[in-house]
Subunit: 368 residues, 2 copies
């Protein structure tokens, strides 16, 4: 039986702006029944948005910490709720994930898998030893494994369109000021987890590299620092990475752009360069664009120029990952969003923050 | 007395296409009298170009290895030649520099200072202990220390226009194929020195960073590899660098772009990002363009936006460095192009080629 009856735990920006529209596209496949937030006000506001966006005939049931009769435990005791989507602040996630699993619910939790590798490893071990065997599904959401654009880029590489991967770049330069809606999330303004925005946002970049590159990330060396006072503890990582197949790349992550134009100039993108071509992945207006350039050769193998193929895919990763999660709860597991594979995203950020220029073995660090 | 009487040792592409036009701009300040090349044909061709470009009434004297009566030693024995410009293949340079110094000539030699740090260090030690005290000048050319554009970028930073330097990027992505004039220089096609194009061309990038950044490069960690079979031993470096002041940056050097568009997409440039703004240096059509973006603030210090100032400077570094060299031979040394300071450019490439992801102390490596 698929987990039709769903509760969402967390009612912040991402739950409202990303999850609700994604759930709306899924129609009858999912029935969002309840919302939990620490505050009554936030949960209630979300419930109204949900009723509106999902065109529900009646409001969501609202749970929060202000009334013991409407607590998270009460929500988790409901038998008509088979699964929860957890979209809470990073440090709150692990204990809520465990609580939900203990209550017998399937869990789709927002990235990162945990605030640090050690907690992530412990969480995965507990899940696998105690809950997986009981048929409970736990997956880590929003890590681009289900995103059609990144998957298309991976296929282009696997099809040999750029030859053997030689080197790559991933560049994310963001401008954040005191007015940013993300900055104004209380838990982001004073982060109680390593890296601040670098962990919260940086895991996306590493996840996309993990999806796009055919070979696993193996070693990272990095320097990390704080460029912008309002974004402690750190906002910038300059990293080099080597993959198992010997290819290597540069990863630039910063939320510390001093002005808007610095972020514009960088034009956040991923390029992968191979022996027979290269590809560039850019994102704009909800569409991912992959430009694949391939060397053309004459019959003697001499290069005669290049072709360009453009692949465009709508960004529907959240919708797809919820669909995949629902199928998994119905016994049809496609392996997407497995917590084990997402641990390397956290490992990368943790390694980069602590590297101080020295190489860190990501495979060893992310080993469960 | 300034060294008016000059010989040029080497008659390749760069001597013809860069040095001759630069010398032409200097008028009476310099008198190019002779050329030496290993082959008579190459030296004679250069002599004709020189007569044409410099509008000389009589041809240069031609020296080469094919006739003992016209050897380099014979050239260096001439008392009317006070200085030589050495533009020979990388591995030939050190012994020719020493030979010229031993003959009592001032020397302006092309970068890199030497094929590797060990030879560079030995060369500098020998110069300083035996020849500097006799008043002979030796400088390392074409390392951008005299380039007005890079100097203007440095001044903008020193003037505080971007605040404290936080992080930076230097990106050089080149497309080279079998038809490239640079590839078809015999000594570049089968390089007998570390790094191939990475040393030959990469030292330029490191030199420009050295000129632009107010703080010295201290530590580099890198991965190096060969992306394009025709460019052994290596053609690609991905590096992270940390400076003495704690700022850090990414350096991407490759001659292994698989197609022309990959190089175009990269748009070779340097960006320096600070706490109060950022600047970008780009080069096109002989002009260096520095766009300086500075945060504007209201009276309470709150950011209100940004200004952009564009500085454009013609690329005249080679002319300027020859002028500076001539002044130095006349006893007025401005410190530009000192061999000691250029040793770090070679040290960077050598460190990056051997780093394998581990940090290398550039200050220690480049210590004479």
């Amino acid at each position: 039986m698929p987990a039709k009856g769903i509760a969402i735990l967390g009612s912040g920006i991402f739950a409202t702006e990303a999850h609700l529209p994604a759930i709306a596209t899924l129609g009858d496949a999912i029935e969002l029944k309840a919302v939990y937030s620490r505050s009554n006000k936030s949960a209630s506001t979300f419930a109204r948005s949900a009723q509106d966006i999902l065109k529900l005939s009646h409001a969501l049931d609202v749970y929060h910490d202000e009334d013991p009769a409407a607590s998270l435990d009460v929500l988790l005791a409901r038998s008509d709720i088979a699964a929860v989507i957890v979209v809470l602040p990073i440090t709150v996630q692990p204990k809520v994930i465990l609580k939900a699993l203990a209550a017998g619910k399937h869990v789709l939790s927002e990235k990162p898998v945990a605030p640090d590798v050690s907690q992530g490893r412990a969480l995965i071990q507990e899940y696998e030893s105690k809950y997986k065997s009981r048929g409970l599904v736990w997956r880590v959401a929003e890590n681009f494994e289900a995103e059609p654009g990144y998957r298309a880029a991976r296929r282009a590489i696997e099809d040999g369109k750029i030859g053997k991967v030689a080197f790559y770049n991933a560049c994310v330069v963001n401008y954040i000021d005191e007015n940013s809606k993300w900055y104004n999330t209380p838990w982001r303004t004073v982060p109680d987890y390593q890296g601040g925005f670098l962990l919260d946002g940086g895991v996306h970049t590493i996840a996309s590299l993990r999806v796009v590159l055919p070979s696993a990330l193996q070693t990272v060396s990095a320097f990390a620092s704080l460029a912008k006072d309002i974004l402690p503890p750190q906002d910038t990582i300059n990293a080099i990475v080597r993959n198992v197949d010997g290819s290597h790349g540069l990863v630039e992550l910063t939320w510390g752009a001093p002005t808007v134009t610095r972020a514009k100039q960088a034009g956040n993108n991923i390029t992968v360069t191979g022996t027979e071509g290269w590809l560039e992945i850019t994102r704009a207006n909800g569409v991912m664009r992959i430009a694949v350039h391939t060397i053309t050769r004459d019959k003697d193998g001499k290069s005669t120029g290049e072709t360009e193929e453009v692949i465009e895919e709508k960004e529907v990763g959240i919708q797809r990952e919820i669909e995949s999660f629902l199928r998994a709860t119905d016994g049809s597991d496609d392996g997407v969003d497995d917590p084990r594979s997402t641990l390397v995203d956290v490992a990368f950020i943790e390694a980069a923050l602590n590297s101080n220029g020295a190489p860190v073995d990501l495979v060893a660090l992310a080993k469960v």
